[in-house]
């Protein structure tokens, strides 16, 4: 055995990947005109801005509660109506329930298409169609929750035990009976848990829809920011976060109960009582939402607008794809991608120390990791659109504000995922490195980093997929990217242009999802 037999394998792949990463980084810095000087010169502005936010105007609550209630009512109504459509669609799309391909393939296509279009875009479109107000918001949330819920329900339906389905077929049940007795009993708890989760997500979405005039607390937030009443804006953000966190807590408890079951089984009468109680609560919420919301219904102009919208959307403005002088679709999409890439890159690095802070196996005291976890959850509860609004006030409108907002929000999200990766790590190698006489840095480099790197990369890619979606929206409020021309086109009712931009967004998002998904599969 000569030593030449076992040559070190070449590492070209690693070097090429690193070079590509750096090239993209340089490109996106150039695109977004993000510079350190900008950050440094913007810092006093940010500090001043935060200074003006405190102390928050607590008395402003008197003006907050009504739009807050509207926000909740919109998401209640949106979630319930969305669910009414989502569950049948999920059953239709599930291969094991709907066995005919020409039914389940189109169902999946519709599901995916509706899901690709972001919440704010729906809101902006409906605001034009039915006028500003909660009607547009509710409609937007119906589509938004439909997208999320149908996907979740579809996945859990396809994962059910095929045994009962076979049995129902064997006893001669038709499709509806098979669903009623073979599918529903199996999926009911999961469906309900998904519904609660979707409700949580829709409240977050609902709180920002007002930014494009679709009702709820977002409109009030925008007004206070425009009037430079940052103390009132701060009060709104804090109250909203409180409501969101409380609902999250309650809902998460319910979901855990639904998915894991309680310690002791319930008696039949008790269980029936709880079911009845649940239906009553839903009914009460529905009545509250329907009576509380000032739903305007269809405007006389709606049909006309709808017709011209449909006509325009089906005749996209292909000329807009590339304009030599600039400001075209391709360049705006490139800017969007640059914003998400740079924001992602920054957060992937910035969140590392926070992740180690929050990981329970990296510190002796529970208080250390606990405080880190709380910090990260506060950061990620503030929606990126709100962060973008704040950064626009601080560093001015444009791509840079978008980068900062995405970067900061992603720190909260990625930090949490990274911390979980660290907690799931095998501590054996760390112990071995201690025994070898390694210092703390050497333990990091030889035992921790090699173990967590694949998870870190995979989570970062996943986050990038989400960030690209978010970045398409940031422009709607002035933080750069494709959203800016999109909102201009919507307000000017240039439907052919809106059409081409939506096509551009859908294609870009799909391509990024595909590339990222392929890469993630290869990293294990």
């Amino acid at each position: 055995m000569s030593s030449a037999t076992f040559k070190r394998p070449p590492r070209t792949k690693l070097y090429v990947s690193l070079i590509v990463l750096v090239l993209f980084l340089i490109g996106s810095i150039y695109q977004t005109e993000a510079t350190l000087t900008k950050l440094v010169s913007g810092t006093p502005e940010i500090v001043k801005f935060i200074g003006e936010m405190f102390p928050p105007d607590w008395a402003f609550f008197a003006d907050i509660w009504k739009p807050m209630a509207e926000t909740l009512q919109m998401s209640i109504l949106g979630t319930i109506i969305g669910a009414l459509f989502a569950y049948p669609m999920a059953l239709l799309a599930a291969r094991n329930v709907t066995t005919t391909p020409w039914l389940f393939y189109p169902a999946r296509l519709i599901m995916n298409l509706i899901r690709t279009i972001p919440d704010l875009l729906y809101a902006a479109l409906f605001a034009v169609l039915v006028g500003f107000g909660p009607t547009a918001g509710t409609l937007a949330l119906i589509f938004f929750t439909f997208g999320i819920l149908s996907k979740l329900a579809f996945e859990s339906t396809e994962a059910i035990d095929p045994g009962p389905l076979e049995a129902m077929t064997a006893v001669g049940a038709n499709k509806l009976k098979l669903i009623r007795f073979g599918v529903i009993p199996q999926v009911a708890p999961t469906y309900l848990a998904h519904l609660l989760y979707t409700f949580e997500v829709s409240i977050r979405a609902s709180s920002i829809l007002g930014l494009v005039g679709a009702g709820g607390i977002g409109l009030l937030l925008k007004n206070t920011l425009d009037l430079f009443r940052y103390d009132q804006a701060c009060a709104i953000v804090i109250y909203t976060l409180l409501v969101v966190v409380i609902i999250d807590l309650v809902s998460t408890r319910f979901r855990n109960y639904l998915l894991k079951g309680s310690a002791k089984p319930l008696s039949a009468s008790r269980s029936r009582m709880y079911t009845l109680l649940g239906w009553l609560v839903v009914l009460a919420l529905l009545v509250w939402s329907l009576t509380g919301l000032e739903l305007t219904g269809i405007q006389p102009t709606t049909w006309v607008l709808m017709k011209s919208m449909m006509k325009g959307l089906s005749h996209p403005d292909w000329a807009y794809v590339y304009i030599p002088e600039g400001e075209d679709l391709l360049r705006s999409l490139l800017e969007t991608l640059s914003i998400s890439y740079l924001g992602n890159f920054v957060s992937a690095i910035v969140c590392i120390p926070f992740a180690f802070w929050a990981a329970s196996n990296m510190s002796r005291s529970r208080y250390v990791s606990g405080s880190g976890k709380i910090f990260l959850s506060i950061v990620r509860t503030i929606p990126e659109v709100i962060m973008a609004l704040i950064f626009i006030k601080a560093v001015g409108p444009g791509a840079f504000a978008g980068v900062m907002a995405l970067g900061l929000h992603s720190v909260g999200m990625l930090g949490k995922l990274y911390a979980e990766a660290i907690e799931n790590m095998d501590m054996g190698p760390t112990e071995a490195m201690t025994a070898v006489g390694a210092n703390i840095w050497q333990k990091m480099a030889y035992a921790v980093v090699p173990q967590v790197i694949p998870d870190f990369i995979s989570y970062t890619l996943y986050r990038f997929e989400i960030n690209v979606r978010s970045a398409t929206l940031l422009g709607i409020i002035g933080a750069g990217g494709i959203g800016t021309p999109l909102v201009f086109a919507i307000n000017a009712r240039q439907w052919p242009r809106v059409g081409i931009i939506i096509i551009g967004i859908v294609i870009t998002v799909s391509i990024i999802d595909y590339i990222s998904g392929t890469l993630r599969k290869r990293i294990v």
Partner: protein, 257 residues
């Protein structure tokens, strides 16, 4: 030479782990520590390189107290003590060579090791260590591509790359099948003989202990209840150590050949 001077370990809840242990292990010995689980074998072994802290007494390695060593001094002393674990404790995604080279980090500056810049001699040393345990050809494979026995040999190679004067092995064969158990024990024994490395092993198989050890130490409830050459470690003695008759599962039962 390892000297235990009045070693005791009391856990915060009052449980006594080790109770006034006095021992001297001489260079080149192959010591096997036996005892029931919970008798304190692991605590005793891990107190030698201070993966576990003791509450009383001190341990001297070649006359120097590791109990009082701190920071860089402690790491320097650990560098000279190799350790083999029941669960191998390799980084599964890293190559075999990188796992072995990680045994060398104590010899170089932090900065240098951060970039993985090991001198040529270190790589040679690591490959030689792999050759000694017969898995030289696996150097560039990922550790998780290897079988359990091979992985344990990688961790032996890591200890060899450390140029350790002492090797501690905490239940090194507990996760292996009988056949690979013998291969790993043979490797440890051969290294002990050829390189004169002092070896201390925790085992719960009695027949293995008799076969490989030059000296057996029996622990019971944190106290040394037997210390002597293999010839004195009769079945009766083992029953004393265990406080009961020997069970079948305490014998590996597969003979060589």
């Amino acid at each position: 030479m390892i000297q235990f001077q009045h070693i005791s370990k009391v856990y915060p809840n009052g449980t006594v782990g080790l109770n006034d242990i006095n021992l001297t292990i001489h260079p080149g010995e192959f010591v096997v520590i036996v005892g029931l689980s919970g008798a304190g074998k692991s605590t005793l072994l891990r107190s030698i390189n201070r993966l576990h802290e003791i509450t009383d007494g001190q341990i001297l390695i070649d006359g120097k107290s590791i109990t009082q060593a701190k920071g860089a001094d402690l790491r320097r002393m650990r560098r000279d003590i190799g350790m083999i674990f029941q669960t191998f404790n390799l980084v599964k995604r890293s190559t075999v060579l990188r796992n072995v080279l990680s045994g060398r980090v104590g010899y170089h500056s932090t900065l240098r090791t951060m970039f993985g810049l090991f001198p040529k001699e270190d790589v040679e040393l690591a490959l030689k260590a792999l050759e000694r345990v017969n898995i030289r050809e696996k150097a560039y494979s990922r550790a998780d591509e290897l079988s359990g026995g091979q992985q344990q040999r990688v961790s032996i190679a890591r200890a060899l790359a450390q140029e350790a004067k002492i090797i501690l092995a905490d239940e090194p064969v507990a996760s292996l099948d009988p056949l690979t158990t013998r291969q790993v024990m043979d490797d440890l024994k051969r290294i002990n003989k050829e390189l004169g490395i002092t070896t201390v092993v925790n085992l719960h198989f009695i027949d293995l202990a008799r076969e490989y050890a030059t000296r057996i130490i029996g622990l019971r409830a944190g106290k040394v209840v037997f210390d002597g050459p293999v010839s004195e470690a009769t079945d009766e003695k083992f029953s004393e150590i265990y406080g009961r008759a020997i069970h079948k599962d305490e014998l590996l039962g597969v003979q060589e050949g």
